[in-house]
Symmetry: C2
Subunit: 337 residues, 2 copies
Amino acid sequence: MDKRLGKQTLKFDNCPVITETSSITGPKEGEGPLSSYFDIIRQDVLNGCESWEKAESQYVHDNIKHLCEKAKTKFEDIDYIISGDLLNQDSGTMFGIRDFGVPNLGIFGACSTMGEAIGLGAILVDGGYAKKVISSASSHFCSAEKQFRFPLDLGTQRPPTSTWTVTGAGSLIISDKGNGPCVTHFTVGKIIDMGIKDPNNMGAAMAPAAVETIYAHFQDTGRKPDYYDVIATGDLGYLGKEILLKMLTEKGLDLSKNYTDCGIEIFDKETQDTHCGGSGCACSAVTFCGYFYDKLMKKEINRILFVPTGALMSTTTSQQGESIPSIAYAVSIENME
Amino acid sequence: MDKRLGKQTLKFDNCPVITETSSITGPKEGEGPLSSYFDIIRQDVLNGCESWEKAESQYVHDNIKHLCEKAKTKFEDIDYIISGDLLNQDSGTMFGIRDFGVPNLGIFGACSTMGEAIGLGAILVDGGYAKKVISSASSHFCSAEKQFRFPLDLGTQRPPTSTWTVTGAGSLIISDKGNGPCVTHFTVGKIIDMGIKDPNNMGAAMAPAAVETIYAHFQDTGRKPDYYDVIATGDLGYLGKEILLKMLTEKGLDLSKNYTDCGIEIFDKETQDTHCGGSGCACSAVTFCGYFYDKLMKKEINRILFVPTGALMSTTTSQQGESIPSIAYAVSIENME
């Protein structure tokens, strides 16, 4: 049976259900507008650890443990964990989950990771390859700044186009049965590189990839933007949002009524000094697992197109003068009744 | 329909076929015993580029382009590329394939990448989520040494337990129809960390992960080791091979007759000065795509259990005193008639 729909989209007929989510964040996210939606807010950025990298792994560990407790599910009942993060060699994830004894599929999509993780998880469950999977993604402001930009101790001034990497982890269970919204479609992005070279302007680098994926989604499904209550990209921020809306308008799609970006939702622009908004794998992961999932469960929204966006460069490629290839994955998540 | 078999294994009933492969290597691999099996052997380690990282991306690019030419397949007929490498943020892959315009699923499994890529590709094709996917993995001796160990210019002495990262890329097409061997099973590994901290002894770090996956494969399938003509791990090398055989013997599995390791096959121990053997994502990828695939097509072997192995550490985690978590993925590839 052909599950493909159009050129880049998969259609899930067996209703892979998101039965539970969990989100953990650091203190700054806990002071933001979505604070009340997060499961766990740590006041300690180091989360009791001796390094930022270990702290990130501990966030992942604590969050997935909490997820399984909430869902009253044992690790032995989870078929796979599908997960990734921004750190070199996915170490935030790998060290965070190494003690769980659950078969693991490591992925890399930079900040688009949660979209790829949900999409692959839905494939596994829809196709009968799993009964229950965990999809997870994480990031940490301090480990990301250290790795990608400057040592925090330098106090380097951040340009206005920069975003603030979210500290935290989001994870969810996709199951073959249970209550919750279903993953109905997965549109797999192509790598798009429009030549942007400024690693402090991720919004501009990633917006064209989000445009490509969103446009492909509507072409493939025949849906119109107003089909969705919310269309939410991952971490384009204020600047990326403007670029996306303009580019999609030129392609004949008007998203002005129901579009937002997780990086815009998670921090308060006026008081939190995060410039263009939030970013990092955890930005879309905790915003979906905390905020949007709650709205879906309460039927305040019933259909969301969730589009995490990722910038696929490394410090080495930027130092060698390369531009920033980007990607976006779209998953359609819907209440079915 | 439940495609799960036992606790960690998936069974593919729809015969995802490996219809074509391509392998590209550097000059050292071209002087080794498998030389005649590789599609392209570059005499220039830099592959015409100005940095080792760009060279690795160019190897990936050239190899996938050659694969599609061999298969007489256009990029627009490929549903997905599933691929990864060892470089930070999978940049070898991402920059290598960015111009192809094919939807991309980035993965990270360190040197186990080719196993994960084939397994996920087989899921997509078996389940009707794709007609044709490309699975790919790459590594480069110089970019890996620079990133994980010491600047090459230092001429640092290599300890006897070290392995030599293979320069090259392997890729293959998995299709819903055509001629070639089928992927029949995929056993997904768990992360295993036995406390080894020496990044110059990957064989010892990874062998227990290979043991766990191979043991799970035989438990889940009910098969015996002699079912396979060849059981080949990815890059355990000479030391890892001994550890694996000993650990599996203790668990009641005798692999002494049909077991080898791609890291042992690819270099000549006597003349090539590679100590414990070859390693890197490309080690298992080019050995399978070049050597074993040829033997399968010629029916010199008909059943192989291919088990790429990965060490999931980063330089940061090693510098912080962490041990090395490892993983292995097993794919069973068989001629069906």
